[in-house]
Symmetry: D3
Subunit: 252 residues, 6 copies
C-alpha cells in the first residue's frame, strides 16, 4: 500500500532515489511510468509528487482521481506518492509555491528528479516544469525558509513523451519489459481515459483509442534505440560515456 | 498493367502530374506509398523512377525485385514506373548521371517530384536525393545536352519517413484511407521483407516485424496531424495558406 | 460600425470564426491586418481583442487610440472589437487575468485564434502571447470560474511579422489583394505612426517612413510564397496536406 | 577599364584585398555588389572570379554576358575580373577544378574571399561554394601542384542574399550609400533581367519586376541593422568585438 | 573608492556608458569582468547593478559580500556600483520590481546594458535576465510611474559565459590584456570561491580549482576569436559590419 | 611494436573492437587519442586507419610522419595501424576509394568506428568523414566487389573535438586518467607541432603553444561532464539508457 494523501510536506516522507514531479495525477504514468517501474524493479526507491489534486478536470473528481492514483502507485511499485494540493488549472511559480515544493524535495531527498518538459499544451504542465526545477534548486540552500534539511538533487530529467517540438531526446530508456506495467498503471485512470481518443498531452490519432495511442508512441520512442518500447528524456547538460563499445543502438 | 522495364529514357513515357524518384525498388513504397496511392485515387497521373535495379541487395535478385516492383506499381495505381539502371550501392552524382535522369524528368514532365531526404543511412539514399534534385533543375535548361523538351518541375518534396534527424515535417499527408494499399504494396517485396525486423532506412524495434514497424511509424506521423496514418515531407520553401479557418490539426 | 468599448467581457459579444488577440491597439493591424481583412472578405466572422487601452503610449491618448482602432476595425471588416482594459506596459499573466481573458474567449467562441509570437521587443507582447494562449486553453474547462459556456478554440496561430528570430514561418498567407486594406487600417493610427520611422516591433530602416517599412516587410514575406505581399505565421503543431499537387510556391 | 578575359590563371593578375568568387556572371552583383562597391570606395583593391562563362543560360550568350560583366565590373570599381571557363550548369568539385581555382586564388592573393552559401536553388551555386572554399584552402599548401606562390586567404565570407533557410546572418554590411551603384551593376545584365520577375536565386514576388525584388530584399536586410539597405553574410567562425559601445543596431 | 551602498535608486547616481546588471554580487565579475575592465580602460564610464545582496548564500554574509564587491568594483574601474536590495534566491519579475529597476536604469542612463543569459542553473539568473530586460524597456516610457527622466538603452547584451546550451556566441570580446584584472576581481570574493571547485554557473572540472576553471573557460572563448582570453555575448539582433577587411578571426 | 606500413588492405590485419579512421597521421591523436588509450586500457583491441601518408604537409615528410605515427601508436596501445595511401590534400569519395576503404574495414572487422565530423577546416577532413561512413556501410554488402568477408560495424561515432559549430556533443568520454597518454602521443609529432600555435583543426589562442591549446580544449570538454579532461562525440542516432540513477554529470 502506498502513502498517498498528505496535502502538505510530510517530514516523515521516506527518502527515495528517484522522484517524479508532475502537475496532475496520471501525468507521471503517461510521461514516464515505464521508467519508474523499471527503476523500482532494479532496486531503487521511487516516489511521485503530484502538484494538484485534479479538482478541475472535466471528468471524475479529486476524490476518485486520488483513488486511481493510489492504485497506479502500487502497480508502479513506488515507495511513496504525495500530493502538494496546489490549485488545478491554476499552478503558479511564486516564492510561496517554490518554498512548498522545496519542502517536499527535502523530505524525499531524491538524487534524480523527473519533471515535465518546458513546453506543454496545458499551461499547468509548462508551469509545473519551471516550478519543480526552481524548487529542486532552492531546496539545497541552507538559508531557505522551508522545513527539512538542505538537499539538492544532482540531476534533473525532462520527460519528453508526446512532445511534438523538433527536439531530439538526450536519451531513451528501454521500457520493453515494463510496457505492460505502464499500461496497467495508465488503465487505473479509467475515469479519465476509458472511451477516449485523447487527453493530457496525448493528441488523437483519428479514432484510435487513447490506450493504443500511448502504446504507439512508446513503440516509436523504442525504435529510436532499436527496442520495442521506450520513454524519451531531455537533459540540459551533456551525457557522459565511459565505454564506447557498450553503447548499443545500431547507427548503420 | 504498368510499364516497368526501360533501363534508359523512353521518349514515349507518358507525362505524369507527380513523380517519385528513389534509389532502390521498394524505397518509394516505404517512403511515400500512401501518398502515391492517394494522389492516384484523387485523379492525378503518377509515376515512379527507380534509379537502380537493386542488383547488389543481399536478398533476391534484380529480376525478382523487378517483378515485385511491377506488382507494387499496379497496387499503387501508377501510370508508369521506370528504372534508370544505375549501379546499386554505387550511385554517383556526375554530369553524366544528372543528364540521364534529366532525360527521364523531361519524359515524365511532372509538376511535383518526391525525392529522398538529404541524409540517409544508405549512401545511395543521400546521393539519390542530390542527383534527383540536380536533374530536376537541369531538365529545365534549354541548352542541356539531353533528349526531350526542356521541363522543370515546380516543386520538390523530400520524403522524411523513418528519418531520425531532429527536423519537424513541413507537412504530413493524411493517408488513413490508403494505409492498407500502402501495406499491400510493401508486402509485394516479400524477397526483401518477409521475416525481417528491419531494412532500408527502417531500424528495428526489437523483434517487431518490419511490416509492423512500417505501420507504427505511419501511425506516429498520423498523430502529428491528429489522424490515424500519415506520411511526412520536408520542403525548402515556405507553405502558402489561403484560408486559416480550414487548416485542421488541433493545437490546444 | 463596430462595437469597440466594453472594458469587461460582454456576454452579448457576437460569436466569431477568427479572433485576433494582441496587447495594444494597432498591434493586430501591424501583425495580421491583411489576413483579418482577407478572412472577412472570404465570408468569415472576425473579431479583435485588444488587451490594453494604450494609456501609457508616449503619443496620443487612450481616448484617441480608441477612436483610431474603431476606424481601423471598420476598414478590416471585423464583426466586433473589444478591449480588455488591462494595464498598458504592465500586462501580467496571473490566474485573474487568465480568467478575464478566458471570459472574452468564451464570449467570442472563435475556432481559430491569432496571438503574438512568444518573443518580442516590448514586454507586453511576450506576456500577451502567453496570457492569450493560457486563456484559450482554460476557457475550455467546464469547472473554470468564469462567465460563459466552456469553449476552447481548435487552433492557435502565432503572428511572426517583424520578428528577427531565425525561425522559418510555418506558413504565409497571401494578402496581395488586401495589402491596401491593411495599409488603410494602419494609417488610421496617425497619432502613432505619422512622421515616424519605427514603432511597436517595427525597427527602423534608416529614414524610411514606417508605412514603407510595413509595406517592405509584407513584400518580403510575400516573396517567400512567390506573391506580392504576405503575412507569416508560426504554429506549434504540424501542417496537414490533402493534395500535394496544389501546394503552389515554386521550389526550383 | 577592367581586365575581364583570361579563361585560365593569369600569373600577372593584380593582387587584391577582397575577392568574390561565384558560378555565373551576374551572381556577384546580385549577392554582394553593394559590398564590393563599398570596399572599393573605402580604398581596397577588389576582384571577381566568375567560374563559368554562362554559355548554357537560356537567354543571351557567353559573348554578350561577357560584355555585360565587363560593364558591371567597371561600375563596381573592381581592379580585375577573371573567368575560370568551367562548364556552365556542369560545375564539379574535383582535384582538377580545385587546382585550377587555387591557381587563381594564388594570383589574386586576397585576404578575404566572398563565396556563395552552401545551399542554393541552382546546383552550380552549391558546388561553387564548396569548390571555392576548397581551392582557397589548398592554395596555401606549399606542395600543391599549381602555379604561383602558396597563399591562403584569412577569411571566407558566405553571401546569404536571397537564401530562405532559417539562418540568421552573422552580420549585415550597410550598403545604403552604394545601393544605386549595385542596381546600376545589376542593370548591366539586361539580357538576363529586363522584363523578368525572377532569376538566379531570386524568386518572384508575384508580378513585381526582378529589379524591384532585388531592392526589396536589400531593404529587408538593411532593416536587420536599422539602415536602408544591406547585404547579409554568414561566417563559420565567431565575430570578434573590441568595443561594445560602438556596435550600433538598436536592440530595444 | 566606489559608491556601493544604496539599496534604492539614487537620483544622483552618475550616468554611465555601459551598465552590467546581474542577480548576485560576483556574477558580473564571473560573466563579464574582463569586458567591464577593458571598456573602462578604453575610457568609458561603467556601472554595475547587483539585484540582490546575497543574503541567502551558504557562505559569507550580505555584509562581507558587500565589502568584497566594493573591492572588486575598484579593481574593475567602475564608476559606480549599486545594489537593488531585492531578495536573494527569491527574485521576481513583477510590475513593482520592474519599476524599481527601471528607476536605476534611468539614474545610470547607460547606452549599452549587459544582462545574464535567458537560461541559468540558478533560478535568480533566469529571472534577473528577464527582469533587467523589461526594466530597460520600460525605463524609456514617458508615462511610467518611476523616478527619473525617461531613458531607454540602445542595446542589450546577454552574457553567455559558462552556458552549456548549444548556442554560438554572437561575438566574443578579446580580454587578453585584462585577464589578470578579471582574475583579481574574482579573487576578491574569497568568501565564495577559496578552496572551491565550482559555484554560480561554473560547473566543476573534477578537482580543478574554480579559479582555474574560470581561466580555462576564458581561454576557450578566446580561442573562438584566435586570442588568448575572451568573454562571449549573445544579441537578439544582427551584427553590423562596415569593413569586411578588418574582421580578424582566421576562418581557414 | 605496431604494424604500421601497408599501403593497401592486408588480409591478415588483426580484427579490432574499435577502429579510428582519419585523413592524416596525427588526426586520430588530436581528435580522440584519449578515448583510444582508455579503450585499450579497458581491454579492447583498437586500430587506426590513416587515409593518407601526409606527403603534402608543409612540414616533415611522409617518411618522417610515418615514424612519428608508429611511435604514437605504441603509446596509445593500438593493436594495428594501417595507412590507405590515398593522396594527401586530394581525398575523394568515389566508388574506387570507397571500395578500398571497405576492404580495410572488412579486414579490421570493428564493432565501433570513430570518424571525423562532417564539417572541417581542411577539405580532406570533410571528405574523410563521408568516405569512411560510406565504406563502413558498403563493407557489409555481400555483393560488394572488395576483398574480405562482409562486415558492417554497428556504430559510427563522429569526433567533435575542436569543432566550432553550434552543436552539442551527444556525449563526452572522460579521459582524465589518459590525458597524459594523449599528450605523449601528440608530442610524437614534433615535426608538425613543435613551436607551433596551431595546426590541423586546432585554431590558435594568441601565442599559446599548440600543446597547451590541446590541453585547454580537453579541459573544456571535460567540464561538460564535470571532469578534468574529456573528448566529445556526435552520433546521428539516440542514446540508450538503462539506469537513470547512474548517469552522473550534475545538472543543478
Amino acid at each position: 500500500m502506498t502513502d498517498n494523501d498528505a496535502p502538505s510536506p510530510d517530514p516523515l516522507a521516506p527518502p527515495v532515489d528517484l522522484l517524479a514531479i508532475a502537475a496532475h495525477r496520471d501525468d507521471v504514468e503517461l510521461l514516464c511510468g515505464g521508467t519508474m517501474a523499471r527503476m523500482a524493479a532494479q532496486g531503487y526507491r521511487t516516489g511521485i509528487l503530484d502538484l494538484t489534486a485534479g479538482e478541475r478536470g472535466t471528468d471524475g473528481s479529486a476524490q476518485l482521481r486520488g483513488e486511481e492514483s493510489d492504485a497506479a502507485a502500487v502497480i508502479l511499485g513506488v515507495t511513496a506518492r504525495r500530493n502538494a494540493g496546489l490549485p488545478d488549472a491554476g499552478l503558479q511559480n511564486t516564492p510561496e509555491t517554490r518554498q512548498l515544493i522545496a519542502g517536499f524535495v527535502r523530505a524525499f531527498r531524491p538524487r534524480v528528479v523527473i519533471i515535465p518538459f518546458m513546453n506543454g499544451r496545458h499551461p499547468d504542465h509548462r508551469i509545473a516544469s519551471q516550478l519543480a526545477y526552481d524548487a529542486c534548486f532552492l531546496a539545497g540552500l541552507a538559508k531557505l525558509d522551508a522545513p527539512g534539511a538542505p538537499h539538492r538533487p544532482e540531476k534533473i530529467l525532462y520527460a519528453l513523451t508526446y512532445r511534438e517540438d523538433a527536439i531530439k531526446p538526450s536519451f531513451v530508456v528501454d521500457i520493453t519489459d515494463f510496457m505492460e506495467t505502464k499500461m496497467k498503471a495508465v488503465h487505473c485512470y479509467s475515469s479519465q481515459f476509458d472511451g477516449k481518443t485523447w487527453g493530457g498531452e496525448v493528441f488523437p490519432g483519428g479514432d484510435r483509442p487513447l490506450y493504443d495511442q500511448v502504446r504507439m508512441h512508446a513503440a516509436r520512442y523504442g525504435s529510436l534505440i532499436r527496442t520495442e518500447y521506450g520513454e524519451p528524456f531531455h537533459i540540459a547538460e551533456t551525457m557522459r560515456v565511459d565505454d564506447v563499445l557498450t553503447l548499443g543502438v545500431r547507427s548503420i
